[in-house]
Amino acid sequence: MFEQIVFLVFAVFALVAAIKVVTTPRISHAVLWLMSCFFGVAVLYLLLDSPFMAGIQLLIYTGGVAVLIGVASVVLRGAAREAQRRVTHSWPASIVALSLFLLMAWMTLELPLPEAPQAANPEGSLALLGAALVDPAGYLLPFELIGVLLLVLLVGALYLGKER
């Protein structure tokens, strides 16, 4: 019961924040709402017994992505003002989004989902995850590939952002 209340509070919070992100006219407010939405979802991760994911969520999304977007909107004040002007409500878009949401909701209720969660997080699950990331029989290659992806990005972004 307690958990359900917590879930509902933060789910509604995250959802309202998400809707604000796409509707609020001022771009700086949109960034703040985005951070709030990420924060709300991070709380749900705690509820899902994944403090690690909650930490990562705050680290990467709130601390990384959202701050990055915020900095960019400070840097590009002109662009931010433009964005302000261009927020429009679009009926076709909302109809598409709503119908797809209803489809997904129907699908969620239709499919046989497990009723009970797995056992609570065992001690040392973090070590298990770490081991899986460097295990040749686990996810070593994807983990390494993340590094390659970020390298490409770094080099490319530097080139694009370079003054000439």
Partner: protein, 497 residues
Amino acid sequence: MLISDYLYLAPVLSLLAGALLILLLDLLADREQMGRWGWKAALASGLLALGSTFLLGDAPVRVLNVLAYDVFTAYVWRLLLGALVLLILLGESYVRSHTDEPGLFYALLMFFAAGALLVAASTNTMMLLLAVELLSIAGTLLVGFLHADRRATQGAIRCLVYGSAMTAVMALGFSWFYGLTGTTDYALTSEALSGLWGSSPAPVIRPIALVPVLAFVLVGLVVKTGSAPFHHWLPGASDVSGGFVGASAPVAASLAILPKVAGFAALVRLTLVMLPEALDLHIVWRWPLVGILAVAAMLWGSLLGLRQHNIKRLMAFSGIAQLGYVLIGVVLATEAGLSALLVALTAYVLAEMGTFTAIAVVSQKMPLDLVSDYRGLYRRAPLLALGLLLFILSLFGMPGTAGFIGKLWLFTETFRAGYIGLLILAALSSVISLGYYGRVVRAGFMDSDAGMAPVPVPAAASVVLIAMMVGVLVLGIFPNTWLRWAQAAAQVFFASG
């Protein structure tokens, strides 16, 4: 075990090593030197990668738990790497004259190709997602590479926005597969799905409920790798969102070839390894989902191709129609259908490679890329005109060319499998395509060249052109070895039963 796994990654690793080497050289050398050495380093690593695929043997191997190396992978990798080598040759003069960072361009191209190789071989949804993302980020950067050109940056932005949205959609689909099965491995997913389905008398899942998930995965993958019509009609994309118009010719050729081949390989693996064949799921996936996509691609590509005056866009639409035919191979999902798919795909790569070479050469002289720029080409540049004719004939499917073999086999198999409607639509689209192919040929061979200057053909471009022409003809006339090889590649998925 670990070392031998990395041995099977040798082609990917040599591309990555090449890229890093070029980046390092870029730090030490100035622009002149990079212009001279960059493409040689890239070519060397491409050839090394291509060569290493011939040393790996034929036995199917599971590489680091997330990739599969087998004859199919080998076939696709060689196709990709062959195209890469030619792309480097083709881009050389263009890159040297159009950018101040040639080293970076080749490094990105190497990363791009490495991403394509990994997409083609992955057997794990998260690996596939990541590899596709590597491919698309490197691709986006390539599109935006020519900085002075605002169109290039705009094209890159469009690429990024649609690409990211499609990544999200695909990831959503994969997250559901993971949720239903608790694994991301294709084969294990297949087992788990069979378990959900088969054991009890009544299936636990109605297949209809999973259609959205299947559709997300399909649309995401196909749009992301650009092998379907969507990347043309997404909002605001009167320009081609894949960046064809914004992109320079070598980049456009890379985008037209590498991700699509890789995407097809991934699609085939998804179809035949991840979705258990006995279940309705497999059937829903092939028809209607992939089937509708194939029909849409064929008709859309052909009909819109008719209206184009820009040759790059015309070829882009024609490419879409071509890939619509190739998608039929996925709909069939039989051993013969799959071999036919590989053959048609190879023919597509050859013809497309050649056409883009010709376009790149003309584009150096006349950057507007209008069909009317090709008036009287056979007098201004006979080699170009001949090549263009041959490639267009192959794309259309004239007997004696590689394209004919692929199309014939595909259509025969379609007939044999009983998809008569599909066959009729494919034939119809083929006929429509005559309209725009004819226009290019008429411009090149019949219209007068009054007031048009001759077009000089650089040495590298003529090498690529001649190689492609020989390829198209040889494979069209003596296709036996090639066909046997394609069959061997297709057998991988059917050998065990």
